[in-house]
Symmetry: C2
Subunit: 456 residues, 2 copies
């Protein structure tokens, strides 16, 4: 079906020439002599206005219904307002009717309602803008790493190991719901993989395998958490960016995370000005200012021990008072980044007891070379660390946690054969999209969100 994208007609349609476009009717206004049809085909945030001279052209009433799909042939003319283009219609052809039961009507619909019709909500301004930003951000992630010589790798999603401490896993099976077995071992022996298998919560361990051969790698793929939590910030299935870099120590990890985050924010600011202006008006006042501030800040760095000292003085204001050894809650994170530092801040060198086995043990014997990046308005957005590269220290950390060393033989091998300092971090993609759009519910930045009892 030969036609042009509405975006290209709007931006570079040659005045006086004929153009053919296709799209869905977004508004229709009628007057005595002229009627106006606004149509959208998804290629641009802006819609194309089609002007119908009623004395010259009779248009099927079905072509004017909200949500109907049409093809329009017309002459490109300068827009009545602004420097865009519009079309003087010569022919309007119906492609698909849209009956009045169409659930997306012009009256302001709520995000809650739209969540019940995930297959249609992308046809609204808000969701089209969210998924445009999401796509631009994803491109920027690939571009950032590729330009810097990182390999994109695909960590396996079905896995036989569970990444200690990262949360509950889904099990993957081909056995029927009522399969019988004498024992757990026998049950899994008859299963597809012959052993218990689950969905990966992180690609980090495989990322380390790749980084200690290829140097700089990143994953950008799905991760899964079978957590029974129904919050606006958690999904059972989400997309995860996890770079891993050989020969990188904690300060390098911090430098990369800061540079990457600024790069991504800059890309969205530059490539999605219309979408951000829309979110700034209708979703989060001051959004663009917030993003520009972060993009131009020097991020702060503070050791956990110092952060605790700062927080302890203010314990009266917190629901959960802190002391050395406490895990930081959202209230503490936001206080640090919003009130103390007033800019993004990396907290480093956490107590080893509240962090994972694979993090590099510091010389003090108490802390590990971990870091969380806290940003205003959201708290933690990135978590990373230098990894323990010493075989004996890694084994002792695993023993302290009663882990099964045999399940981690490959991972330990990386420390036996040419071990190197290395590190990396993880960024939840949906969290980032929420941050740059101001959307407060993670379900609204995800095409078909999955969470407990929710699989529409």
């Amino acid at each position: 079906m030969k036609h042009e994208d509405i975006k290209s007609v709007l931006e570079s349609g040659e005045v006086g020439k004929e153009a053919v476009v296709c799209g869905w009717v977004r508004t229709f206004r009628d007057s005595a002599n002229v009627a106006f049809l606004e149509i959208s085909d998804g290629t641009s945030f802006k819609k194309l206005q089609v002007v119908i001279d009623k004395s010259a052209l009779a248009v099927d009433a079905e072509c004017t219904k909200l949500g109907a799909s049409v093809r329009v042939r017309g002459e490109v003319v300068p827009a009545y307002k602004g420097d865009g283009r519009e079309l003087n219609a010569k022919e309007v052809t119906l492609l698909g009717k849209c009956p009045p039961e169409y659930p997306i009507q012009k009256k302001r619909t709520t995000l809650d309602f739209l969540r019940t019709i995930p297959h249609l909500r992308l046809r609204t301004n808000t969701f089209a803008a969210v998924f445009r930003v999401r796509s631009v951000a994803a491109q920027a992630i690939h571009r950032y790493f590729h330009e810097r010589g990182y390999y994109y790798i695909n960590a396996p999603l079905i896995t036989a190991s569970d990444c200690e401490g990262a949360g509950e896993m889904f099990r993957v099976t081909t056995r029927p719901w009522n399969a019988k077995a004498e024992s757990e071992e026998e049950y899994y022996k008859s299963d597809f993989f012959g052993v218990k298998a689950g969905l990966s919560v992180s690609g980090q361990l495989e990322g380390e395998v790749a980084a200690t051969a290829l140097g700089k790698i990143y994953t950008f793929g799905p991760s899964f958490r079978a957590e029974n939590s129904n919050t606006t910030r958690h999904l059972a299935e989400f997309w995860h960016i996890e770079p891993e870099v050989a020969f990188a120590e904690l300060p390098d990890v911090i430098e990369i995370a800061e540079e990457m985050l600024k790069y991504l924010i800059r890309a969205v600011l530059e490539e999605c000005p219309e979408e951000l202006a829309f979110f700034d008006s209708f979703v989060e006042k001051g959004l663009i200012e917030k993003l520009k501030h972060v993009e131009s800040s020097d991020f702060a760095v503070v050791e956990y021990t110092d952060a605790i000292s700062l927080l302890e003085k203010e314990n009266a204001r917190f629901q959960f008072p802190v002391s050395w050894g406490s895990d930081l809650q959202s209230e503490h994170e936001r206080y640090l980044t919003e009130t103390v530092f007033r800019r993004p801040v990396f907290v480093t060198d956490y107590p080893k007891e509240i962090k994972s086995f694979y993090m590099k043990q510091n010389a003090d014997g108490k802390t590990v070379a971990a870091t969380d990046l806290l940003v205003p308005g959201i708290g933690e957005i990135i978590g990373g660390s230098e990894r323990e590269a010493d075989y004996d220290k890694l084994v002792s950390a695993m023993r302290e946690r009663n882990m099964d060393l045999d399940a981690y033989r490959q991972y330990l091998d990386l420390r036996l054969f040419g071990t190197v300092p290395h590190g990396g971090f993880g960024l939840g993609f949906e969290r980032f999209v929420m941050y740059v759009t101001g959307i407060e519910n993670i379900r609204d930045v995800t095409l078909f969100p999955r969470s407990v009892k929710n699989i529409k």
Copy 2:
């Protein structure tokens, strides 16, 4: 750990300046006065030669062991051969020892053996080259679609619907192996999602949701097949590229697939010349010639009915003789593309009985607007179609297949509210990587391959 990438030293190191690099020892040659260490850090296919003047510098023997990791400080000098650079060592520091049990030794190891050590095989030339090509191809895919205004979308992987006919699905559950239930319904009611859930075999149906709102979209994410087949061309988990385009009819789908495939091949030819030269020498003689031929061919198009006429004349040569209505086997596909057309060929308009319910029904009442792209040396590489946009025809195709209409209400809604012609196709990413590297086993282009009884 401040250092430079080996790639940047090799390509643009300033002669006479000092450089610090890190890497793994790949070869060591010793002579009376001078020793040579070749090191690699993954950033380039080429290794960096480090020259050690033994009268001036004593190097720890551990630094010369295959697989050991080292840091080298040295003076950049012109390479003895070619126009690259090498380093005259001033200091060689051991980062990590590599004991003689290291399974990757210089003697030629087989791909079969390397498959048993997936966590170390990336340290060989072959696998480093494969994963460099894989990464470059992935980038090219994102670039191709982004430059043309497609949105990148992430279809859900955990799904409650099964995409009719696309093969066996894995089940996703949080119930323990020995969970008891009175009935299937009760079993799933207590499961995480409250209904039976599985791993998606295709993002197409969700891609159609997005395309009929956003215009042009593509997915690039994992798909799963729980097929009990242990071949060199099938995985239980693979990455899948699935563009979907509103207002596209079958000829448009064909045009996009041809243009995309050529773009990807061109990107790999241009960006991976060293890797392709290596594969051409050691993996598939004539590989580069093959790729250039495909990249510069006008792809042929033949209707299934005509293809069958061509094949029937040659039925004597086939293990499985064909007649109208037959599904094409690999031997027929390869005969068509390698012997009849001698270039890539789109076969179109297949009998509806051997294709999926969602494909557009042609006016003849017998065929559907489907196409498979066949390429020399491999057979089918892309499968696509125009989708049935007419509600009544889609319902009748589903009824003929005894499908549960209620499970597809969202999908059917797309045909009720502003339906449009649309279409798309699917490309298995690993199949593409096999094609452009000449690697014959899909397990060798996948970081941690998953197949029946195989989850290392």
